[in-house]
Symmetry: C2
Subunit: 307 residues, 2 copies
DNA sequence: CACCGGACACAACCATCGGTTGTGAAAGTA
DNA sequence: TACTTTCACAACCGATGGTTGTGTCCGGTG
């Protein structure tokens, strides 16, 4: 049974003629459609005269059923219409740049139907699978363009500049700005980075590019422990995103020192299903493209990042 | 939205794979169907893996709606399925042969869902229109084959032999059998036949064929009045179908005298919508074809009757 | 009474669609 | 590594469903 034929039948039944102007098909096509429908269900639905058509008795029985089918179809389409449910965005971690960017987007789009979740996937490949399966609609990751699975689109929408975070006793504590190469010889500790993740790859590339010694291994005993260690050490430093909200460097007299010439940036990339029509997703991408903190200054990213 | 695609989606969702064996289509066809459906509604319904498919979150939302559409379609088809309502047969008049034939059919088919109605249409053309419009499903009439409207089928299924009905004083009252030609010169009165009807045409043809004087005009004052007149008259006669149930010739000592050589028969023809699939209609036609009182003897019918 | 116009069906034609078979890629398994 | 399973893509092709053109029916009209 063809849904379009039902639509045609309802229209003809209501207008009384096959002149289906608003149907967008010719009278002959409407005639064939309904003839096919009648042949399919085995009864005559319309009484044709030379001055129009009326519904037969069987047609009168069939009409409300046809309308019910059409209503069910409409409801089914409505139920999954893009935008009918909140957009689920994986922001990785509520402290870092993606979460704050999504929050700014939400502030500037008050009606946006949006859930920010933290999925805690191991790595970008698992996050991509979660996106593919619909667990979330989008996820902020950093993924080389040639590793994006089929069915997933990746857009680099958020560059997070890195800053050096040191305690008051560190030799660079009072420098107004630091170049990445200046960090050579200093010990940089970034706990909680698990091997095999894109974070590990990023810091690996960074250390190779500038001859740094970045210690990205070891368990993470919590931000407080890290900050305590930084505050007490004259040799230890770490790297954080310029927008990361740590509570609170001030409490420990920690210093954020911007990196320049070039500025290493972490290339947050939004993964989403190719062709996803969700209006909030579209708006979020537009927002990030136009208002994101992409800096015009010279930046450094790993070689495996596009552009 | 294609209903078949919904059916396919439900099957795939339940089996977990595109091996749509019971769908009667190939795996590739199922894949294309669902891809088209997904493109149409704008969301991904299934998560494809190399070992089957699972429904995505959107698919889980969509699935019950799809089932509802299919149920509505099934109900719509059920509502007008041939046989879902009683067959309405116009028997013209409960006294004459068609009504009795339908009654015999009903007796031999106890479960048959059947309404016998008397439509009181003026003539066969109007009855045909009523059939076409679905007011009744079938009507017993006598209609030349070349006057059957398009969309109507006509089957001559019931031959009603005529008998002479006379009072005890009539010259032919004691004849065991009479030939039509023997009636020439006798006055035959058949009240209640309106001009323009197929009955008038039948008696007109009969009178011309055998040189009879049939008075078919005049109002019908009721069967009782006719029988009273017959009982009292030595010159008056009328013609009745051999199966017609008049109450009661015996009361007036009326005589039924069969006509032979040839036997004029009234060719009751069943009009019904071409292609009507109603099982009771099919059974009724079969019944009449096999058990009807079609006589092998020599019969007379008007020239405009087929065969 | 002949003509006209509205409405539907039929015929011919054609693009699109939805099916098939054949093949390839991905991923789990022996 | 080789094999199996499963789904997607490509090529092909007949059926489907659209179009235009035309015919018929029938009621209204000059």
């Amino acid at each position: 049974m063809d849904v379009e034929a039902l639509r045609t039948f309802v229209a003809v039944a209501e207008t009384g003629q096959f002149q289906a102007d608003e149907l967008g098909i010719s009278q002959q096509a409407a005639s064939k459609r309904i003839a096919t429908l009648e042949r399919h269900i085995g009864v005559t639905l319309l009484v044709r005269t030379s001055r129009g058509s009326r519904v037969s008795l069987d047609g009168q029985v069939f009409l409300p059923h046809a309308k019910k089918v059409l209503a069910a179809v409409e409801q089914a389409e409505q139920a999954v219409r893009p935008g009918s449910r909140p957009l689920r965005v994986d922001v990785l971690n509520r402290r870092i740049a993606p979460a704050q960017a999504v929050y700014r987007f939400y502030r500037s789009h008050p009606g946006a139907d949006l859930d920010a979740v933290t999925l805690s996937q191991e790595n970008a490949a698992q996050a991509a699978r979660a996106v593919l399966e619909g667990t979330v609609d989008a996820s902020f990751r950093a993924l080389p363009a040639d590793q994006v699975p089929t069915g997933i689109s990746a857009e680099r929408l958020l560059d997070a500049p890195l800053e050096l975070l040191v305690g008051p006793g560190h030799p660079l504590a009072d420098a107004p700005r630091v170049g990445p190469a200046d960090l050579a010889g200093h010990r940089i500790w970034i706990p909680g980075i698990r091997p095999g993740t894109e974070w590990a790859a990023f810091y690996q590339a960074l250390s190779e590019a500038f001859g740094l010694s970045i210690d990205a291994l070891g368990p993470n005993f919590g931000d407080e422990a890290l900050m305590d260690a930084l505050a007490d050490s004259a040799a230890l430093a770490t790297l954080v995103g310029s927008g990361d909200r740590y509570l609170w460097p001030q409490n420990h007299d920690l210093r954020r020192i911007p990196l320049h010439d070039p500025t290493p940036v972490y290339p947050h990339t939004l993964l989403f299903r190719s062709g996803d029509q969700h209006p909030v997703l579209t708006a979020l991408r537009d927002h990030l493209r136009t208002t994101g903190p992409r800096t015009p200054r010279e930046v450094w990213t790993p070689g495996w990042v596009d552009r």
